[in-house]
Symmetry: none
Subunit: 197 residues, 4 copies
């Protein structure tokens, strides 16, 4: 019985990922500029110089964090329900899943928001990610309009009204309990004449 084979490449990837993950934590917590390479090395129990075997520069490390922790795909998955399921049933699920995703990816969220304020490349990345999410959900809503469930309207906007409050809620410490009200407001509106309960 031989020991489980771990290839050199795997070891390399392993350490590299360890560094990236630790970098994400540090960058989110202290900010990119305030997190030092020494911090990172210590967090990983290695010498500072080693970081430069894996990344060309601190900025390259930052980009690698984005490469590894970007979650555009997960976001699209979460925001695109089956077209034949009714919105009344599905939207609450979507909003909750979205919220949970943001909780899970909080470090990344905080990091990208911070850096996108300053770095035009990252700003575009973040904008694209947001807009892609919005348009994904809008596509589903449009399908529900076509299916005759929802009235004709600007579905991109309704997608924004579902997703953006969730993001800000997360960042400004609002409670999860409010998520269902969001869906309700959006579906039913707040005008009395259109009311039903």
């Amino acid at each position: 019985m031989s020991a489980p084979e771990i290839s050199r490449k795997d070891l390399h990837e392993g350490r590299r990922n360890q560094l990236i993950d630790a970098a994400l934590s540090l960058f989110a917590e202290k900010g990119y500029e305030n997190a030092t390479i020494k911090d990172l090395a210590e967090a990983c129990g290695v010498a500072a110089g080693l970081v430069y075997h894996y990344f060309e520069s601190k900025e390259d490390l930052l980009l690698s964090v984005f490469e590894r922790h970007g979650f555009a795909a997960e976001m699209e998955r979460v925001l695109l329900p089956a077209f034949d399921r009714p919105a009344s049933e599905v939207l609450l699920e979507v909003v909750h899943s979205y919220y949970d995703l943001l909780v899970e990816r909080e470090s990344f969220m905080r990091m990208i928001i911070r850096e996108s304020m300053t770095n035009p490349q990252l700003e575009e990345r973040w904008t694209t990610m947001c807009n892609t999410g919005v348009q994904t959900l809008a596509r589903y809503l449009a399908a529900r309009v076509a299916a005759g469930e929802l009235r004709a309207h600007d579905t991109e906007i309704s997608a924004r009204m579902l997703t953006h409050p969730v993001v800000v809620l997360r960042l400004t410490g609002g409670s999860v309990a409010q998520l269902s009200s969001i869906v309700d407001c959006l579906l039913e509106g707040i005008n009395k004449k259109s009311g039903q309960g």
Copy 2:
């Protein structure tokens, strides 16, 4: 008749404000850590040492920027219409004014968002500012519920659904044209059965 008197104190205030305003620009553009005191001094055409005649430290300068450029008051003004005016008439105005305010205060917005990701004190400030705004608008909406115009609902959430998409729209390059759809969606909802002519 003597020349208009400019007191020593006014001169002091003038220069101080000049420094603060330049600091806001720099902090918003490059980020607090990447903006140097020398940058600031150059932007104002003075020597670096002079900054320390007006502020105890760079951090003190940052706080002074918040002191001078915080716009909680303007936000409350914008988000609190007269209770007796109908939402159907007022909300579009509110959303537009809010959007315009964000445009006018863009530098400050970007700065506080960035710094609040990292600095707990500023995070609380930013959270409070957001929540105060939300609650101000919620108070108006509650008044309209009481007035019988709107149906009973969680007005804090509807306030979020009006304001948060506006913020994110601003930051991710959405167009102003979409503002009216926001109000419409919120008032009428998107359900077909709740009909809207």
Copy 3:
């Protein structure tokens, strides 16, 4: 009686020159790459950071050394005697003055030779300096040919034969006593038939 006035600009220049001079010493002794900014600062009794108030970078410092210690002008002065003085009388003086100049500027010589092996810009500078010197002396020799003192010949080459051995003599530890033989050989040649005792 007031104290002697020393302007701020003079103080600046003074310190700047002190740094440049110390840098020349260090660069000549240890080589540019082996001389550290800390070395330099210590040699001048200041903090390392101060160097960067006077020079943008270590390379800028190197260039400043060249600016200040280049001696093309002195070299031309030394190598250009009055056209009407006979070579037989003047060349030994020239060679000695040239040798003395090289002794006085030894640090600079060693530095530029070393750096020109590696840095194309400096190589050109050094080449130009050499060639200018050669051509200056060649011009004088040509005047002596025209004056009928010397035979018609390639005066650039004879200028090289006077100056280059002096340089190498300096660098490889030859003795000053040999300088007069150089002049003699050049004037008289070494062929017996042209000999004169």
Copy 4:
């Protein structure tokens, strides 16, 4: 008949020499301090660590370059013609061969000149090499004096006047065409009265 045997020792020598030759190139081009072991390894297509199987340290590598590429012997061969051949016939050959040798060994020349400015041991090596060359040629010239071809004079100096301008010519981009003038000047002198038809 077995295939040609290549001993382990030969393989070792082969790789060692490959490393040394690549090191010479790098040291000449970028300078010892600016050439990294990694540069060297890459140039040879091996891992950085391997260099230390062949050399104890970077300095040992430098010394090995001198061991392998020193050309004192070639220089002596080039600078020592048969004593019975007349200088008038031989010197131009010598100067050309010497020039060609310097062209062939340019990398080494540039390297040793550079390093000798800084490293006393190498300086001595370089000085010795120069002086040995000078004395070798001087010995031949002395033989020609004894043979009655040349007048009695300081032959070390005339050897310098033949060799040093050639070196500097090489380094400062002079043309080969000037070599014959050197010999002519030295043989005949430049004084008109010593006439030469």
